[in-house]
Every structure is written in C-alpha cells, then in structure tokens.
C-alpha cells in the first residue's frame, strides 16, 4: 500500500506525515519527527521505554499503529511541561519542568535515564487519575516500566513527592 497522508496531534501541535500503514507510532515519532525522547528497546510491550500518552492514557507506542493514532491527543516527554500549568516558572531560556520531572531530579531517581521518559509519562497518567496514591499503588501503576539502574525506589519516592507537590500547587492556585 502506498504511503498515506495523516495528521497527528503531538504535544498540542499538528504534524502532517506520510506513512505506510504498518508503521508504528514509535517509529514515526523517532524517525520521521525527530522526537527521540520516546525510547526504543524491546518492541514487544514488555519494557515500557516507549510509553507515550494517548488521550491522557499511558500506551506502548511500539505496538500502536500511527494510523490508529489519528484524531487522538498524543503526549510525549517533550510536551510534558509547557509553562503556565500552575507550575513554578523556570528561569531564563530553560523551560519550566513538570513537578514530576523536578521530583525525579531532586530524589536522585535518574541514573542512566533511558527508562525515565516512559516512567514519567506513566506516572503522570496515573497521578492525573489518582492524585493521592499510596506507595503500593504507585508501584502497581509503574509495573509496566522496567528500570535496570535504580531498583525503582527513588522513582517511587519521586512520584509520591510529586503528587504532594501537585496537590499543594492545586490547593494554592
């Protein structure tokens, strides 16, 4: 089948791409759009490094056809924190970080970093649905994201702390 012109909404921006129907969203993001923040590894929905949000839900982009992503709101790590979402403003040219991103930095939750974009997006999707989770719930929500470096502990701590910060941010707003 020839390539088809489709429009994908990624991080609130429209991208017009030409894709063969069997292309995955992961491949289109990374190869066609240069959005390499979403990572590639097992291509089997086993590791979660390719996690993106589709209409706010965490999804493995490696098994999601680009064709099927039309008309959906896709969020990648690059689109996580536009300034002005009730977050602390960044200084200078650096963009503001989402509380999750800041918490991951503050808790030492980042080591090699390869799992981190997927991990942060999974956490965001979960916190949007469950703003005050327990540790057990956070672990369960992140069970589809493998990390080999951290043993998960500081990641879990960061997510719990981010939840607190986001709740405080909301009540302060």
């Amino acid at each position: 089948m020839a390539r088809l012109a489709i429009a994908l909404e990624i991080n609130r921006e429209r991208h017009d791409v030409l894709v063969e129907p069997d292309r995955t969203l992961l491949d289109v993001l990374r190869s066609d759009l240069g959005l390499t923040g979403t990572k590639t590894n097992c291509l089997d929905a086993e590791c979660g490094v390719c996690t993106v949000l589709i209409d706010g839900q965490a999804v493995n982009a490696c098994l999601y056809l680009a064709m099927a992503a039309q008309g959906r709101a896709i969020t990648t790590i690059e689109g996580l924190a536009p300034a002005g979402e009730g977050l602390a403003a960044g200084e200078g040219p650096a963009p503001a970080l989402h509380p999750l991103q800041q918490a991951f930095i503050d808790h030492g939750a980042v080591q090699c970093g390869y799992c981190i974009p997927g991990m942060i997006l999974s956490a965001k999707a979960y916190l949007d649905e469950q703003p005050r989770p327990t540790e057990a719930q956070v672990r369960e929500a992140l069970a589809g994201n493998l990390c080999r470096c951290t043993g998960y502990q500081k990641i879990v701590d960061a997510v719990l702390d981010a939840a607190d910060r986001m709740a405080a941010g909301r009540s302060a707003a």
């Binding site: 097992c42 086993e46 090699c112 799992c115 493998l146 990641i155």
Partner: protein, 757 residues
C-alpha cells in the same frame, strides 16, 4: 568519620539530570545522520558447524540494499580481551547460534531484514559442546581446533577447551583438612544472565573523505573499541574517532565491541553513514552475558567454627569465544577466598569454551556466583556446628592489617562494622520468628579496578569550569561525583562545572567505565588537574595582588588573600587574552597493590585494589505451596570509603540489589541443544516495581588511602551478595537449601516436596 565537605559528601543533583528528564539527552540509540542506512546482521543458525557456502546474491538484489559484508571483506584478524579468538564474521566455522556471519546495510530496516532473510548459508554440522561437563570430558570435541595459534595474554593457562585456569595456592590444604574437625563439600550452579540494559547496543559510523571514520556508540570503553576497530579496519587508531553521545545502561555488557565494527564496515563499503542496533533477541542470544557456573567448594573448620582450609573450583561456561572468561576466572578465586582468614587455600577458576554465546563481564564479574557458593556454605557450616551464622562470620572475617588471599595487606577494612550494622538493622536476634519466615546474611569484598584516567580542566572567562574527560557516564553519576571533587578543590560550586566526555579524538585517555573505577580515578585526575590549576591561578593572582602565593587560597570562586581577592573569571579571562587560557591536564593511575606472586598462576587479577567490604541482610517469607518468596526487608551495609554523593551511592545499592534479586529469583538464559529458548523479554524475567522491596542502605566509611577523600568503588558490590543472602534466608525460613540459581518457585516447591532440608 570523615567530615562532609563543602561539595563532596553532599547529595547534590547530578549534572546530566535535566537533559534526561526532558527527553533531550541523546543516546547512541537515538543518534542519526542524514542519508543514513540501516544495518542488520546475518547470524549462524547452528551451534557448531562448518560454513560451506555463503550466498548473498538474492540478498543483494533486494531493492534498497546498498552493501553486504562478510568474512571476505575483513582482514583475517581475531580480537578478544584476553584471547584473540573471535573473528568479525565467521570465515569457515560457526561456533554458536547467533554468531555473526554477514551484515547488510539498506535504505530501510525493513529492506535490511528482507536481505538478511534472503542470505543463504550452507552448513555442515559439527558435534556441539553444550556445557562445561561435555567440554571437559576426555575426547571432547574442540570448540577451537586452532586454540594454540591464538594470541593470548601470556600468563594464561590454556589447554583445549579451557581458555584459562587461574589459581591461588596458599599454605597446604591437606594440612588444613587434618586440622579440621569437619570438612564440608558442596556443589553449586548458577545460570547465564543478561545485564538487561534498557537501551540496545547501537552504533552509527560515518567515513569522511580522508579515510577517517567516526563512530557514535554506547560503549563503556571508547578507547578499547577504538583499538579493536583499528585491527578490524586495518587503519591506525588515530584515524578512528569513537564518541559516546549517551548510554542507557551498560553493567559491563557494553564494554567490548558490539555493533561498531558492523556499522564501520558497512559504512565504508556503501559510502554512506550506517546505523546498527541490536534487537532484544540478539541481546539474549549474542551479547556478553554473565557466565553460568558450576562451583565445587570444600571447606574445613574446627568445631568452634574456625576455618582451616578451603579448596574451590569454579567453572565458567564462557561460550564460543573467551571474551572476559579468563579474567573473570581469575577474579573468582579472590571471591572464593572470601573476606576471611583462611591459612590454607587452593582455589581455581576455569574459563571453558562451549558452543554458546561468548560471555563477558557483568557488574562484579564472578562475584555473585562465587559469593553464592561461599556464603551459602558458611551458613550450612554454621547450621551443622550449631553456631549462629553471624557469629561464625565474626570469628573468621578479616580485619585491618590482615592479608588477602594473595598476600596483599588489607587496610581500611570496614567489614566488621558492615556485618554488625546490617545484622543489627535486620533484627538478627529474632532470625526465625515463625515457620515460613527467616533472615539471612551474606558478606563479601570487591575491588576498585585500576587503569589510568586523564582530564583536561579549563576555567572559562565567566568563571565556570569545563571538565573534559575520556570517561563514560553510564548512569552511576560517577562523573558528577568527580565534578564534586573538582569543585571542592577549586572552590567553586558543582553547578559551575560542565562535563564533556567520551570522545577519543578530543578527550584524554580513560580506561573506561568498568570495575567501579570511574569516580575514583577521574576524581583523582581532577584533583591533579586542580592542583596544577591552583598553582597557575595562585601565581597569576599573586602577581596582581602583590602578595606571596603561600598566603593565597582558592575560595568562593576567587583567589583570596590578606590583601584582596580576584575572581577565577578574571584570571581566566586574562589568561585567555594573554596566555592561551587557564587549563590544566591531570592524570591518575592507582599504584599497584603488592601481593605475593608465588601464590598465583594464570592470574589476571591478583589483588583487589582499594577493596570495599559489604554485608547484606534480608528478611523474607516463603510460601512452600507455591514457592513464592516475599521479601519484607533488605538491608545493605557497604564500606564505601567516603561517600562522595550519598544519594547516588544509595542509587547504586538499590539498583544493584534489584538486579541481584533478578539473578537470584527469576532470571536465566535457558539453552537447549545450543539454542536459547527464551530470547525475549516476556520470558527473560527482570524484576518489576512489584518485585523489588525497599532497600535500606547503610553507608559505612573506612577511608582508603588512594581514592579521592578515601572513596572506594561502589557500583559493582551490591550485585555480589543478593543470591547468598536470599538463599540463606530461605533456608532459615523454610529449612530448604537451594544450591542453584535462579531460586525459582519450582525449585522451592520441589525441595519442599522431596524434603530438601
């Protein structure tokens, strides 16, 4: 205890975090060049066979294919860390399922895959050697008929299917058995396991018009890859530039050449940049996993629990090529001795060829396997003698000034403190609270690998500092730690430092991210560079301030003295205008550790430098009906010498234990008849968030003499003790002694059913 410095010793955020949390950091797997082709490797389908014919004609005709390379495109060169036995492409014999035979570059990955599927190879099967026992049996087929002709490290003891036998002999074990009241003999086995980094191995190669090649890769050892590529490409190393843009975990699996040579060869032949990246299946069949082992351990002990002798043999199934086997077999003998006072030792490590993937180095290579045997047996002994396992260890552990197994003098020995604090933290007094629940201990020691590191440190005209190092930041935050050392020495903040790293062309040499050495060695190189910079800065400032250098000091981004101060920024600006800039070169190599050469044979690693000591304690429950293990608490006490950055050291401990628990309970690469049965992440089972407990880290500090501020290597040790600690706890909880890894639910249930108590 050590004083916390202004910068060192503090849990400051790592320098590369913002790029990583925003997805901006570029890893080798992300790297791309315009016009780039995609490469795939055609691999052997036979464990052992003669390659009679290779036909790439149909493959070459596939639309989009731009280059195919095989053995005829490469000089007849063999490479390898210890034995140069490995070809780029099998020229005549294939020795494992997955061995590279050819490679293809095409415009799309799909076309490359189609081309690989269209390559025809005709094999004549040869009898495969499927395990260590078969390899060592009399009359066994030789995995390498021409083994004698290979170039190898001269001291290796090679013979047929044994590519090294390393040995430590101390005293006389026969005398030790005679002294003993009891002699215990046990056999242990461990499985092959994969490092499990989440980023596949990847490389992009591009040749320029002058015949130089640049390779972007996620290697841990860019200079080693550069040297290997020089042999393979038959060009001088200086015409090869290896750059590591970013690496998503390595754990030793990305030390040696992985796909860089395929990318470079295909790029040269096609005239275009080429990217090659491994798949999960290739990682689990043709990478550098941790060797499976068989361990025979015999220990003599008096009735009051004093060790009199130990005899050990550990066989490493190192696969089709020696890889890191010979070195790993050497290190194993050090771990088999354990951090114990034992007067009589006869310890051997064998690296054995088989027709499986060649194995490499995985975080604390040989550590978990050897330690599993030693520490499991210690508990068996304790149980048999009716002595508390903690007490048995306390009676035999090494202390300050004792000798290691090869005669090195041990100093900064924090072992007793680690053992007592871990036992205390886990509540050792109540170690069998009820049936099905128990606590276990394991202790060990490990090295901080040597090798040299160089840095350039430059002070910018705005007062910030550029740290230029050949080291690779694999995720441990070692380079942040080194930058903290630098900041401390220069009187600046960590945030003032920018790190540039891992480019063989423009960064100084570094021995690489291996052996827990990076913060240690780069930190010390930074101290050397800072000392030189300090001299220059003080000299320049002294002239300006009209004051002797001895009265000046670096503080708060200035040179300060009684008569005033001048900023580093000003000094750097002046130097840049008039003197070529404020820059210094610092180097470091750890002094050798003296040992008794008569005690070792075939030994590539006869001393543990700046050794660390550690104790793990675990509290768990066993469901004897399902075999499920639930870990309630896990405590680690690790002698880190000096904690350069406590948060990231905790991160190493937490991650290392998690990885160790995977090896202990769920991970194994399963071979049958030379074929991997579980070459995917569905069935190669790494721990998830629900499988790893919270880990409590106790950072013990007995500062060493060599490391920056007394720091010792911290990255590898946490991988060493989990198997034994968990096995000992399972024995305490359920009376079941499992002597093979992984300790699966099935093994536990089977032991419970057959009364393996």
């Amino acid at each position: 205890m050590s004083e916390t410095g202004r910068v060192v010793g503090r849990s400051l955020p790592r320098l590369d975090a913002p790029g990583k949390v925003t997805g901006r950091a570029v890893y080798a797997a992300d790297f791309a060049l315009p016009g780039m082709l995609h490469g795939r490797v055609f691999r052997s389908s036979q464990p052992h066979a003669r390659l009679l014919r290779l036909d790439t004609t149909r493959a070459a005709a596939i639309p989009g294919v731009r280059a195919i390379v095989s053995a005829t495109d490469v000089p007849d060169v063999r490479y390898g860390a210890a034995v140069k036995d490995e070809p780029v492409f099998a020229p005549d014999v294939v020795r494992y399922i997955g061995q590279p035979v050819a490679a293809v570059a095409a415009v799309t990955l799909q076309a490359a895959d189609a081309a690989v599927a269209a390559i025809e190879a005709v094999y004549e099967p040869l009898p495969p050697v499927l395990d260590v026992a078969s390899a060592l049996a009399p009359g066994a087929p030789l995995v390498h008929e021409a083994w004698r002709s290979y170039t190898a490290i001269p001291i290796l003891q090679r013979d047929g299917n044994v590519c090294n036998r390393a040995r430590i002999v101390v005293g006389d074990v026969e005398r030790g058995w005679a002294e003993a009241d009891h002699v215990f003999e046990h056999r242990f086995t461990t499985a092959m396991v994969h490092q499990g980094y989440t980023e596949p191995r990847a490389a992009v190669a591009a040749w320029d018009s002058s015949g130089q090649v640049t390779v972007w890769s996620n290697t841990q050892l860019p200079f080693d890859v550069q040297a290997t590529l020089a042999d393979i490409l038959a060009i001088a190393p200086s015409r090869i530039r290896v750059i590591v843009p970013g690496i998503g975990g390595g754990f030793g699996g990305k030390l040696r050449i992985g796909v860089e040579h395929f990318a470079a060869l295909l790029a040269r032949k096609s005239g275009r940049p080429v990217k090659v990246m491994t798949t999960s299946e290739e990682e689990l069949t043709a990478a550098y996993p941790r060797q499976g082992t068989v361990i025979e351990l015999k220990t003599g002990v008096t009735r009051d629990g004093r060790l009199t002798a130990r005899q050990g043999r550990i066989y490493f199934d190192t696969g089709a090529f020696a890889g890191s086997g010979p070195g790993v077999a050497s290190v194993a003998t050090m771990v088999l001795a354990g951090p114990y006072r034992v007067a009589n030792l006869h310890l051997e490590g064998y690296a054995v060829y088989t027709n499986k993937t060649n194995c490499g180095s995985y975080r604390a290579p040989s550590g978990p396997q050897s330690n599993f045997a030693v520490e499991s047996q210690m508990d068996i002994i304790a149980d048999a003698l009716g002595i508390d396992p903690l007490e048995l260890r306390l009676r035999n552990i090494v202390h300050e000034g004792d000798e290691g197994p090869t005669g090195q003098v041990l100093n900064a020995v924090g072992l007793e403190e680690c053992l007592r604090r871990a036992a205390d933290a886990i509540g050792w007094a109540d170690r069998r609270p009820r049936p099905g629940r128990g606590k276990g201990l394991a202790i060990g020691w490990w090295t901080t690998t040597g090798g040299s590191s160089g840095v350039y440190v430059k002070i910018n005209p705005d007062g910030t500092v550029a740290l230029n190092t050949g080291a690779v930041e694999i995720g441990t935050a070692a380079l942040t730690g080194a930058a903290q050392v630098l900041a401390e020495a220069l009187g600046v903040d960590l945030a003032d430092i920018t790190v540039v790293s891992a480019d063989t062309f423009s960064t100084p040499f570094d021995f690489g991210a291996q052996g827990s050495r990076t913060a240690f060695a780069v930190g010390n190189a930074c101290r050397a560079a800072a000392a030189e910079l300090s001299r220059k800065l003080l000299a320049q400032a002294a002239a300006q301030l009209g004051c002797p250098e001895q009265e000046l000091a670096l503080r708060d981004k200035h040179v300060v003295g009684r008569g005033g101060r001048v900023s580093l920024a000003d000094l750097a600006r002046q130097s840049q205008q008039a003197g070529g800039g404020m820059i210094a070169h610092g180097t470091f190599i750890a002094p050798g550790t003296a040992y008794d050469t008569k005690r070792v044979e075939g030994h590539v690693y006869p001393a543990f430098h700046s050794p660390s000591f550690h104790a793990h304690a675990v509290d768990l429950s066993v469901d004897e009906e399902t075999g499920e293990v639930t870990i309630h608490r896990y405590v680690v006490a690790q002698d880190v010498g000096f904690a350069l950055n406590p948060t990231y050291i905790e991160g190493q401990i937490e991650g290392g234990v998690a990885q160790g628990l995977g090896q202990t309970l769920s991970e194994e690469i399963v071979y049958r008849d030379g074929r991997v049965l579980n070459a995917n992440l569905t069935d190669y089972k790494m721990p998830t968030t629900l499988d790893v407990p919270r880990i409590e880290s106790i950072l013990v500090e007995h500062p060493g003499r060599v490391g920056p501020f007394g720091a010792k290597g911290v990255g590898e040790p946490p991988n060493v003790e989990p198997p034994a600690a968990v096995a000992n706890a399972i024995a305490a909880a359920a009376g079941l002694r499992i002597t093979s890894l992984p300790i699966t639910a099935e093994k536990i249930v089977r032991a419970a059913q057959t009364g393996g108590r």
